[in-house]
C-alpha cells in the first residue's frame, strides 16, 4: 500500500507526530470521537484541549433535535450502549453559541453532521461552508439511534455515494465519511464514499446492540436498539480499519474502543493515520493526552531516530505479506 496518504511536516524533534489528513494539519494523530466530547467546553476542566490533534463535535442536524427519552446510556461488559438520538442545537445555534468557544481553540475543529435525507446533509454542509475555523466535515452516515436516515445511509454503497456526493456539492471543506460497522462488507461502503469524493474515512461508529430489562420485561431503550461502544468493540473496529486500508487510498481515522496508547498503536499499524478516543473519555478524561505521550514513547523505543508517524501507518500489513 502507499505511504503517501499523509504528508508529514518534518521538524527538528526526533519523533514527529504531526501529520496532515485531507488537508487538515494536526500536531498529533489523537482526536476525540464525535458525541463523546460535546462541543469541547466541558472537558476543558479536565484536560488542555489544545494538546489534542483535533476536536470533533457532537453530531449536528439542520434543525435542533431534542433527542431520545431516557435512559440513554447503559453499561455492558467492557462497553456501553447509548441512545442519545442526536440531541443537538441545530446548525444555526451551533454557529451562534458554540463556534465562539471553538474559535478560541488552536486546534482543528471537525464538525460532525447528520441528516434524515440527502438534502438535509447538503443543506448543513452548505450552511457550514463559509463558517470560519471549521477544518473539515465528518459525515455521519452511521448513527443507529434515529428514526430516519442515519445508519441506513451507511449500510448501502449507493446511499453512501449519494450522501457524500451531495455534501461535496454543498461545500469545499474536506470531507471525512464516518462508516457504520453494521454491514457485511465495510470496504464496499468505503469504496463508494471515496468514489463520491470522500477525502478521508473514519470508522467505526457504534455496533447495533440492545439490552432487556428482565424485571420490566421490555427493552431498556425506547428505540429498542442502541449503539455499542467502548473496549468491547475494539477487535471489530481494528479489523474494519484493516479491511478499509486494503481497499481505499485515502487516510483513515480509526476509532472504536481505544483506551490506551497501545490500542492506538494497534490502529495505526492496522492502517489508521489518526485515531479518535470516544467512550474512554468518560472513564479517563486524560486518555487522549496519555495516548499522545504513549505514541511518542513507542516511536522512540521501537524505531530508529527520525522515525515519522507516517512510516508506521499500516506497517502490520507488510509483515503480513512476508
Amino acid at each position: 500500500m502507499n505511504n503517501d496518504r499523509i504528508s508529514c511536516k518534518q521538524n527538528t524533534h526526533k519523533t514527529d507526530l504531526s501529520l496532515e489528513i485531507a488537508g487538515i494539519a494536526m500536531k498529533n494523530p489523537v482526536m476525540v470521537a464525535s458525541g463523546t466530547f460535546g462541543f469541547g467546553r466541558e472537558y476543558s476542566e479536565f484536560i488542555d484541549i489544545n494538546n489534542l490533534g483535533a476536536i470533533v463535535t457532537k453530531g449536528l442536524t439542520f434543525l435542533p433535535k431534542e433527542g431520545n427519552p431516557p435512559p440513554r446510556t447503559y453499561e455492558t461488559p467492557g462497553g456501553m450502549l447509548n441512545s442519545v438520538g442526536l440531541e443537538n442545537p441545530g446548525v444555526e445555534n451551533f454557529i451562534k453559541k458554540e463556534m465562539p468557544y471553538l474559535n478560541s481553540l488552536s486546534i482543528p475543529v471537525i464538525v460532525n453532521i447528520d441528516g434524515d435525507t440527502v438534502n438535509e446533509y447538503y443543506k448543513i454542509a452548505k450552511r457550514l461552508d463559509n463558517v470560519k475555523n471549521i477544518s473539515a466535515l465528518e459525515i455521519n452516515i452511521s448513527c443507529p439511534n434515529v428514526k430516519q436516515g442515519g445508519m441506513a445511509f451507511g449500510q448501502d454503497p449507493q446511499n453512501a455515494y449519494e450522501v457524500v456526493k451531495a455534501v461535496k456539492e454543498g461545500t469545499n471543506l474536506p470531507i471525512i465519511v464516518k462508516l457504520s460497522p453494521n454491514v457485511t462488507k465495510v470496504e464496499k461502503i468505503a469504496e463508494a464514499a471515496v468514489s463520491a469524493g470522500a477525502d478521508a474515512i473514519s470508522l467505526i461508529n457504534t455496533l447495533l446492540g440492545m439490552a432487556i430489562d428482565i424485571y420490566e420485561k421490555k427493552p431498556v431503550f425506547y428505540r429498542t436498539f442502541a449503539g455499542l461502544s467502548g473496549p468491547a468493540v475494539k477487535p471489530v473496529a481494528l479489523r474494519m480499519v484493516w479491511q478499509v486500508y486494503d481497499a481505499v487510498d485515502v487516510p483513515i481515522i480509526g476509532m472504536g474502543g481505544i483506551f490506551t496508547w497501545q490500542d492506538a498503536i494497534e490502529f495505526i499499524l492496522a492502517g489508521a493515520s489518526a485515531v479518535a478516543v470516544g467512550t474512554a473519555n468518560f472513564v479517563e478524561p486524560q486518555a487522549p493526552e496519555k495516548i499522545v505521550a504513549g505514541i511518542e514513547h513507542y516511536l522512540k523505543e521501537q524505531f530508529e531516530e527520525n522515525i515519522r508517524l507516517n512510516d508506521i501507518i499500516g506497517l502490520a500489513h507488510k509483515a503480513n505479506i512476508d
Partner: protein, 261 residues
Amino acid sequence: MAKLRFFADIVMNREIAMDIFHMKLYCPMAAKLAIPGQFLHMRCSDTLSPLLRRPISIANADERDGTLDIIYRVVGEGTRLLSAKKTGESIDIMGPLGNGYPIDQKVNRIAIIGGGIGTCPLMFLAKKLATKNSKSGNLVKHSVFLGFKTAKQSFGIEFFQSLGYDVHISTDDGSLGFKGFPTDLIQDYIFDVIYACGPKPLLAIMQAYAVRHNIMSFVSLEERMACGIGACLGCAVKMKSDGYKKVCKDGPVFELSKVIF
C-alpha cells in the same frame, strides 16, 4: 483552570447500616470546592469492569481537615467494589460535579425530605443550612422527614438531630418510627421551602404537594450517567418546558415544579 479530577486517599470505609457504607476521603481541593447537592464521579475499579464511573452524592465535606464523606448502598458491581476498598487505598474521582442546592433563600420554615439513599446529599445540605442559620442568628426549627425500608437500613438520624433539626422518621415496615412513607408525615406541615431527594414516587408526591401549597422546592435527581460532566448527553431528564436537561450538569438539583416524572 481547576482540574476537577483527583486521586483521593480513603481514610475510612465501613458499613454503617445494612448494605450502607460510609467512606471518608482525603481530598482537600475537592473538600474546599464542594457544595451540598454536588456529587463525585467515582471509578470503582482500575480494570475495565465495571467500565463507567459511578455518581455518588457528597454527604459531607470538611474544608478544615480536607475530607469528603460519601454514603452509598451496595446495589451492584460498582458499589460492591467500592465497599471492598480498604483504608489507605486511593480512589480516582472527578468532582465536585453538578450544580448543588440553592441555599440563599431568606426563609423561615425549611423542610428536608429524603428517602433511603436519597438522604445522603441532604446531610451535607442540612449541615450548611445549620451553619448559615447559626451565623445569621436564625433560630427557627427546621424539619427533616426521612423514610427507610426498614430500621436496619436507616442511617443519618442522629446526624440531623445533632444539628438541631426536628427529625421525623418512617419505615415501610414500621420497624422504626411511623409505618409508611415520609410523604405521609409531611402532609401535616407547611413550609417556605422544601429540599428533597429520593425515589421517583416520593418525588412525584412531593411535586403534587408543593404545587398544591405553592411551596418553592428543590429536588436532586438520578439518571444513568456516562461522562458526568455534560459532554455525552446521556443523563437526560425531561422538563415541563425547555426539553431535556442534563442531570450531571444542569442538575442534579432542579426546581421540583419543572420536572416531568
